[in-house]
């Protein structure tokens, strides 16, 4: 029982990070109908932003407190938002009226460009870096169950960010414009919505969430490297598809499902070696039986 609860805690904290990244995939898909494959690399850049910012922030604020941790996270999110908007501006905007396939392949190119540039010794180098401690580390023992402060922070931050995102999308003018663009870009433009700024905003928002995900991931797993976004990005993409791409609650649900299943599979001897394959197996099953995803609505193809 204890083992089951512990795996539940492990799975939820991993799934919450997948969920944060999946939200970015799903939002961009919602407004532009293409997969931003560079999203996983923005997640990695978020972790590195935290790595380089932490010493500065620690000089100004008391180090290893929740306050300084929060400041690092907010700054990293801002940097990632800027990077996301920059990627959109430089790589995707010139191609907006080209076929979606062109943009998709450009996204793969952007992803490889970021990965290999960052592996250059003059940038980050390919070796793993030890991520500094941002928050005080405490563990709570509840029976045989162990919960530590960084796992708790993952839950809390994810819930807060999800609430903020829901508020932005559902209650603000910009959010309404985003939903209008997702629904029908031409009609939205005719109603006076500035397409470019809304798309830019969507990229910024999604990338900020990926940056938060990067910091949370690095806090939990302590070591960061330029290729860390590849596997995690793929899993989060699958989470977005499993939940129903384009659907925000779906992305969060998909992230949790992938995180939990992966963790439980990892704990079973004999199956643990196939852990990384689990997400892909789920993807195939979902595409076969419920192609629109768990929460997605299937739409008739417009011809």
């Amino acid at each position: 029982m204890n083992e089951f609860l512990q795996q539940l805690v492990n799975g939820v904290s991993l799934g919450a990070i997948y969920a944060l990244i999946a939200l970015g995939y799903t939002m961009v898909y919602g407004v532009l109908r293409f997969i931003n494959f560079a999203h996983g690399d923005v997640f990695m850049l978020g972790a590195f932003a935290g790595y380089y910012l932490a010493p500065f922030v620690n000089r100004l604020l008391p180090p290893q407190t929740y306050l300084s941790g929060a400041v690092v996270m907010v700054l990293a999110m801002a940097i990632c938002a800027l990077i996301g908007m920059l990627i959109e501006f430089l790589a995707y905007r010139p191609l907006r009226h080209r076929p979606k396939l062109t943009v998709l392949i450009t996204a793969i190119g952007v992803s490889l460009f970021i990965e290999y540039t960052c592996q250059h010794p003059a940038v980050f180098g390919a070796a793993p870096h030890a991520f500094p401690k941002l928050i005080p580390f405490t563990t709570w023992q509840i029976g045989g169950l162990v919960l530590d402060s960084s796992q708790a922070i993952v839950f809390v931050t994810t819930v807060l960010l999800l609430a903020a995102l829901t508020f932005i999308v559902q209650r603000t003018r910009t959010g309404t414009a985003m939903r209008a663009v997702a629904f029908n870009p031409q009609a939205a433009a005719l109603m006076g919505v500035n397409l470019s700024s809304i798309i830019s905003f969507t990229f910024g928002l999604g990338s900020a969430l990926a940056g938060a995900g990067g910091i949370l991931f690095a806090m939990n797993y302590a070591s960061i490297e330029p290729l860390m976004g590849v596997q995690v990005g793929l899993k989060a993409f699958i989470a977005a598809v499993v939940g129903g791409i384009g659907n925000l609650p779906g992305a969060a649900l998909g992230g949790l499902v992938i995180g939990l299943l992966e963790t439980f599979a990892g704990g079973i001897p004999g199956l643990s070696n196939y852990r990384d394959g689990i997400a892909f197996a789920i993807l195939i099953i979902i595409l076969l039986f419920k192609p629109a995803g768990l929460l997605g609505k299937s739409e008739a193809e417009k011809v």
């Binding site: 204890n2 302590a222 990892g266 643990s272």
Partner: protein, 383 residues
């Protein structure tokens, strides 16, 4: 459109010409050097292995050249980085052989990558010496492949005995990197030895090298309540495993093989790696005369950095090669191979090296413990 295809044709021709510049099979280098190729993981996941090994090799080559080189020629070391990635060793070793025309190849530390380059060296009949790949399959590739370190059946048995005798562990869990030939091989021999000694395996789990989250498997290991956990992995993964084991309250000793030895283990792992054990090839604090000189020369050359086992073996691999070329009196692949196979009682930094009929070296292993962020010598196990 037309000028584009013409352009591409021109570039392709230039590249082909550049490729033909040095025809395959040119043995001795231009003029007065003997070209020796080295491939190493200078960057990436196992970067400290590659860098240590490379620095050891560089020191050896510099000393050989300062003493007048071999056969009246200087050795020219050509080094290629394989980025700690599968696929790269084949590319760079092909380049070293076909384009640079090296007479012999030195490398790698990680067994999976040595296994990738070995068939290429074998096909081209270029002798390859792996400084520190311990998986038995490496030299089984063919008669041109050698190594200057012990192999995993020995290392696995050493750690199995260590677990039952020194740690007094009866129940052990094994946590293997399912992606790495080194890890799988070492785990296999450990399990055989430990079971033969009457021990009990309570959990066997796998991870994938490069993973960041190990909590799922470690939770399952903790539930099996082992006395100790054997983790035959490489330092980047091991450091994270130690951290996450502590986080989950798994407070038993973790121990592993020579893949642990890197200062990065302590840098990333911090307090979590304290008190854990691993086996390796050489301990700088047990000094023979030879190793004393090596340690001081190495420190002088590399800004006070202490050499680890990978550096010592990198040094020995180049020294064994130079000795073989001297005895062969030629730089022909077959001649060097025969001389290498006849290496007997060569005094190296990591002890006397004798190449056996399987082209492996028979050597003692040492067991180190992480203490106060340093690796402390515990015991030596003779073969």
């Amino acid at each position: 459109m037309k000028h584009w295809s013409a352009y591409i044709f021109l570039v392709a021709t230039l590249m082909a010409l550049a490729g033909c510049n040095k025809p395959a099979g040119t043995t001795a280098g231009n003029g007065n050097t003997i070209k020796v190729g080295e491939y190493a993981s200078l960057t990436g996941k196992e970067a400290t292995f590659g860098i240590s090994s490379h620095e050891g090799t560089v020191l050896a080559v510099e000393q050989i050249n300062a003493d007048g080189g071999v056969l009246g020629k200087k050795i020219e070391l050509l080094t290629e980085d394989d980025l700690s990635k599968a696929g790269e060793p084949a590319t760079v070793v092909n380049k070293l052989i076909a384009r640079d025309g090296v007479v012999a190849i030195l490398g790698e530390v990680a067994s999976s990558r040595s296994l990738e380059a070995a068939p290429i060296c074998q096909q081209n009949k270029i002798p390859m010496i792996s400084p520190s790949s311990t998986n038995p399959k490496v030299t089984e590739t063919g008669d041109f492949i050698f190594r200057v370190c012990f192999i995993d059946p020995f290392q696995g048995t050493v750690m199995a005995n260590f677990a039952s005798k020194t740690l007094k562990a009866k129940k052990v869990a094994v946590f293997t990197d399912g992606k790495s030939d080194y890890s799988k091989g070492l785990a296999k021999y450990f399990k055989e030895g430990f079971l033969a000694g009457g021990g009990q395996l309570v959990a066997e789990l796998d991870f994938n090298g490069g993973d960041k989250d190990f909590k799922a498997q470690l939770t399952s290991i903790k539930a099996a309540s082992p006395d100790a956990v054997f983790v035959p992995g490489y330092y980047t993964d091991v450091a994270l495993i130690c951290i996450q084991a502590k986080q989950l309250g798994l407070n038993v000793p973790l121990f592993g093989g020579d893949g642990w030895e890197s200062d990065q283990l302590v840098k990333i792992g911090g307090n979590a790696v304290e008190g854990n054990y691993f086996s390796t090839h050489y301990a700088p604090d047990v000094a023979t005369d030879k190793s004393k000189y090596f340690v001081s020369d190495y420190k002088k050359r590399f800004d006070g950095k202490s050499p680890d086992a990978m550096a010592a073996l990198g040094y020995d691999s180049a020294m064994v090669l130079a000795d073989a070329i001297k005895r062969a009196g030629s730089t022909g692949g077959q001649k060097i191979r025969d001389a290498l196979a006849a290496t007997k009682d060569f005094a190296g930094v990591t002890g006397k090296t004798t190449i056996n009929e399987k082209r492996d070296a028979t050597k003692a292993a040492v067991i180190l413990q992480v203490k106060d962020g340093q690796f402390k010598y515990l015991e030596t196990v003779e073969p």
